[in-house]
């Protein structure tokens, strides 16, 4: 599987994402934000960081980039897209995922190894690091997401450090090919630097590759 990892001015974890894609057995290359060409790419990763300095709102400017237009087409065609942290924010701003990410409840950036639950109830140990990771959506939208199985990851009890509604750590679109989450699976693929539970997040999307 060939992954394309977007790179914006201000992206931080794009090389980590490249490495993670390779660890799970794929190939990966960087896609410059001005580049619309996704030919040969099976899956897209929108990585973490501070694209455009998080100015205006996190992800608000990146989402207008030419690369994101191409990603929207790829997603519409059913291709897998993984948004991590800032990437999740970009996908929400772009309307490819529901909801929005707000400032952490305690108003501080927090970097912490965290337990997540996937929709099978398995526990994944994955680090999070963000200042604006509080997931929000209006009640009716939340009910719909739950009913449709669109909540992809939740913080385990006592692990919701940012105040996300209903402990939601990550969501997917209706078709399931676009997934976004605030924690960083690309930092949980190497036993030397942490857990390897992050591999499952990448593997979960491989089925959507054409």
């Amino acid at each position: 599987m060939i992954w394309g990892v977007l790179q914006f001015p201000g992206s931080c974890d794009e090389r980590d994402a490249l490495h993670a894609c390779e660890v799970v057995g794929g190939e990966a290359r960087l896609i410059w934000h001005e580049d619309r060409d996704l030919s040969g790419i099976d899956g897209v990763v929108v990585p973490g960081g501070f694209s455009y300095g998080d100015y205006l709102r996190a992800g608000a400017i990146a989402r207008f980039s030419p690369a994101m237009e191409a990603v929207a087409e790829h997603a519409a065609a059913g291709g897998p897209v993984l948004g991590i942290c800032n990437g999740f924010q970009v996908l929400c701003e772009a309307g490819l995922l529901p909801g929005a990410l707000l400032r952490n409840q305690e108003l501080r950036f927090i970097c912490k190894q965290t337990d997540l639950l996937d929709d099978r109830g398995d526990v994944l140990s994955i680090p999070l690091k963000h200042g604006e990771g509080r997931f929000y959506a209006p009640e009716e939208m939340l009910d719909r997401l739950e009913a449709n199985g669109q909540v992809a990851y939740r913080y385990a009890d006592d692990h919701n450090v940012n105040g996300s509604v209903r402990n939601i750590a990550g969501v997917r679109n209706e078709a399931g090919n676009v997934v976004g989450l605030m924690p960083h699976p690309e930092h949980a693929v190497d036993p030397l630097t942490g857990s390897i539970d992050g591999r499952k997040v990448f593997e979960a999307l491989e089925g959507f590759a054409a």
Partner: protein
């Protein structure tokens, strides 16, 4: 006439300038001289002493005098590193002061062509019961986090101390580590007459005019709020673009040399580039991209606007350079040319508005000798916070809860410690940070240490102890020191006691580095850290980078499992002098025993080899709070208690009190299989297990629950958060 005095120049310095120029300097020239001849830029009170520091070694790739030092880590790779202070700006505006401190040290590292891979910080504030200190702590931590997190460089370690003498003058020392192929690294010297001088990065405004340099050359007194406009404001997003741009330019071989703009802005970077290259430089201020209209030439030359870099480029390649800057959405402008005049000339609209010999400006500042005099007695006062007769259990809890000793999780949790995928040992998991270097097939470890209180007790011995502490921390993760960087934070060198402290500390630093064979590859000096109550503790902050062959073979500082034996290794001879317990009992005084450097070095080698061979389950060096705290910390981190009898240690001639709470270099707490520890020569003192911490030493004994110990050790969170201001949007 008094203009020069207002800018911080003495009458005799002014006369010397006139003599070297052959005439009186005009406004532009005076402004430039006043900055480059300030203490901060010229090191006029410390340079003569710094010559004592050993800086050579077979692994040294770049030594003092370059933007950062660098050591060879094998396979054609080098690790660059340096520590710098941003004390005075942080005391005035902690968020921006600390943020721009991080920004500045990052630029020093990528200016030599190394990609920053980690930052660490060493911070000192007054006691936490002071509102001002909580405000400074909060601001500095948010500022460091803001800058480092945004630019994607992990913060992997550091230290924080809270002591009364820093109440008025906090210390913010920022360190950066970079990684590069040795052959790709660049120097700052300008070269090639006729080459273009190109300014890249942020536009130039009025930030910090008269800023860092002026502040660092005078003591802070009343009315320092008025200095707020001179604090620089940082933009990490801009820096991230400039960083990528510069690394791409260097990778493509498009730059002849590169220099960052820091204190004294264009004046110092252009001046230093010209001086290093023994050439001249013409700068046309009309070509500098400005943020504010109508800036005068002297303002443009002294502006400390952040996130700017200066490069020398062959004329035929200027267009390519500018195109890459445009790709990274960062400004660039050709603002000058390299000449053979040996002068730095400032032009505006074709007219020369300043003309100085480079040598006079950059190297002509007189260097001063100190007039040191030892103090007759302890000058820092004492404050008793631990009642006489407090039992040993309560004493241990009081030590664990001391903000200087307690867990710093509240702080490092605000920092991204994992971006870059190199962090093998995150903060507080081991005695030093460990970063893997898959490219060169090995790993490095870093520790940053200092103890102003001990240096105040005896500057020579205290400084030696700080360096040994660093070496011990590296040994605990299996690393061998490659090089050292230092930041010397002292009071007013024109006064006899701070002069004595500085002189003795530098001598101690030179002696221990010589004996250990660790070169000093760079550093920084911050003087005039004095307030109305007197000088800060003399605080040499030292940081070492070491290498280890296998990142999978490091040891945590916490015990691993029930039943493991606990061993004490090394020539540890505990003393109460300068210790945390002496501080809490209000019994601080002059004097500190002489450390046994050779014996400590040998113990480091033993521990290092044992860790590399996987022979120990944990390794933790004994520092603040003594052996009792070290044992408690290893237990708390593991969530398993321990039992230890220190009687055998007492046989080295110390009292029960000293055995439990005394401090000093040369002590390692190891855990693992009893036979392995004995084979290393460790003294078996106890066993890991249970849910209490039980210690005995002669007629003293204590038992505390692990839960109570953990609560005491985690008490910083509540104290630091209370009435912290609501964090504003950056």
């Amino acid at each position: 006439m008094s203009a020069h005095r207002e800018l911080g120049l003495t009458d005799s310095e002014y006369d010397l300038i006139v003599e070297k120029m052959g005439r009186e300097p005009n406004t532009v020239e005076l402004a430039m001289f006043s900055l480059l001849w300030s203490e901060h830029c010229a090191y006029k009170h410390s340079k003569k002493l710094l010559g004592k520091l050993p800086s050579d070694g077979p692994r040294v790739v770049m030594g003092p005098g370059e933007n950062a030092g660098a050591v060879d880590v094998g396979s054609g790779y080098a690790v660059a590193f340096k520590v710098e202070s941003h004390n005075h700006p942080s005391a005035v505006e902690p968020f921006q002061g600390a943020a721009t401190g991080v920004g500045g040290i990052l630029r020093d590292v990528f200016a030599i062509g190394a990609r920053p891979i980690a930052v660490l910080d060493s911070l000192r504030f007054g006691e936490l019961d002071s509102v001002r200190s909580r405000h400074l702590l909060d601001g500095a931590v948010r500022g460091i986090g803001h800058y480092g997190n945004s630019i994607g460089v992990p913060n992997v370690g550091g230290e924080i101390y809270f002591e009364e003498p820093y109440e008025h003058n906090c210390l913010v020392n920022a360190m950066c580590i970079g990684f590069a192929k040795t052959e790709d690294m660049v120097r700052a010297a300008a070269a090639g007459v006729g080459n273009a001088v190109v300014l890249m990065g942020a536009t130039t405004g009025r930030d910090g005019i008269g800023g860092a340099s002026v502040l660092a050359s005078a003591e802070l007194g009343e009315g320092d709020d008025a200095k707020r406009p001179t604090v620089q404001v940082g933009d990490p997003f801009e820096e991230s673009k400039v960083l990528e741009c510069c690394l791409e330019l260097l990778a493509k071989g498009l730059l002849v040399s590169l220099q960052d703009l820091g204190a004294a802005g264009l004046t110092s970077s252009a001046g230093e580039m010209a001086s290093a290259g023994e050439v001249g430089i013409d700068i046309d201020v009309g070509k500098v991209p400005l943020r504010e209209a109508d800036m005068e030439p002297f303002e443009i030359m002294v502006s400390e606007s952040q996130e700017r870099m200066l490069a020398v480029v062959e004329p035929s390649r200027v267009e390519e350079v500018r195109a890459i800057c445009a790709k990274w959405q960062t400004e660039s402008a050709e603002i000058g040319v390299v000449t053979d005049s040996g002068h730095i000339r400032i032009l505006k609209d074709g007219e020369v508005v300043g003309d100085m010999p480079v040598e006079a400006l950059v190297d002509g500042c007189p260097l001063y000798d100190l007039a040191p005099a030892a103090p007759a007695a302890w000058i820092y006062g004492n404050k008793q916070t631990l009642a006489a007769g407090t039992d040993s259990a309560e004493t241990l809890l009081a030590l664990l809860a001391a903000p200087s000793i307690a867990s710093k999780k509240w702080i490092f949790q605000q920092y991204d410690s994992i971006v870059g995928s190199r962090t093998v040992r995150r903060p507080e998991s081991a005695d030093a940070a460990v970063l893997q270097l898959p490219e060169s097939g090995n790993a490095i470890a870093v520790s940053i240490d200092g103890n102003g209180r001990k240096v105040a007790c005896e500057p020579f011995n205290g400084t030696v102890e700080a360096v040994l502490e660093c070496a011990q921390n590296l040994a605990c993760v299996g690393a061998e020191p490659l090089g050292l960087t230092n930041c010397l934070n002292f009071g007013n060198p024109e006064k006899p006691v701070p002069a004595w402290q500085l002189d003795r500390a530098i001598s101690g630093l030179a002696a221990v580095c010589e004996e250990l064979g660790v070169p000093v590859v760079g550093g920084n000096v911050s003087l005039y850290n004095e307030g109305p109550d007197g000088p800060i503790y003399p605080t040499p902050v030292v940081a070492m980078v070491g290498e280890l062959p296998d990142p999978a073979r490091t040891a945590p500082s916490s015990f691993a499992k029930e039943g493991d034996a606990i061993g004490l290794l090394g020539p540890f001879t505990p003393t109460l002098h300068g210790s945390e317990i002496a501080k809490q009992r209000g019994e601080l005084e002059l004097g500190l025993p002489e450390p046994k450097v050779a014996a400590v070095a040998e113990a480091c080698a033993t521990v290092r080899d044992a860790v590399r061979a996987g022979k120990v389950a944990s390794a933790h060096d004994i520092s603040d709070g003594g052996l009792a705290c070290a044992l408690a910390e290893s237990s708390i981190g593991a969530g398993i208690g321990c039992r230890a009898d220190l009687q055998d240690l007492r046989e080295r001639g110390c009292t029960p009190d000293e055995a439990l709470f005394g401090e000093g270099p040369g002590g390692f707490v190891l855990s693992g299989e009893r036979a392995e520890l004995e084979a290393l020569g460790a003294l078996i003192i106890g066993e890991v297990g249970g849910s209490t911490i039980e210690l005995a030493a002669g007629d003293r004994s204590l038992i505390i629950g692990l839960t109570d110990a953990t609560e005491a050790w985690r008490s910083l969170d509540a104290r630091a958060e209370s009435d912290a201001e609501p964090p504003a949007d950056a």
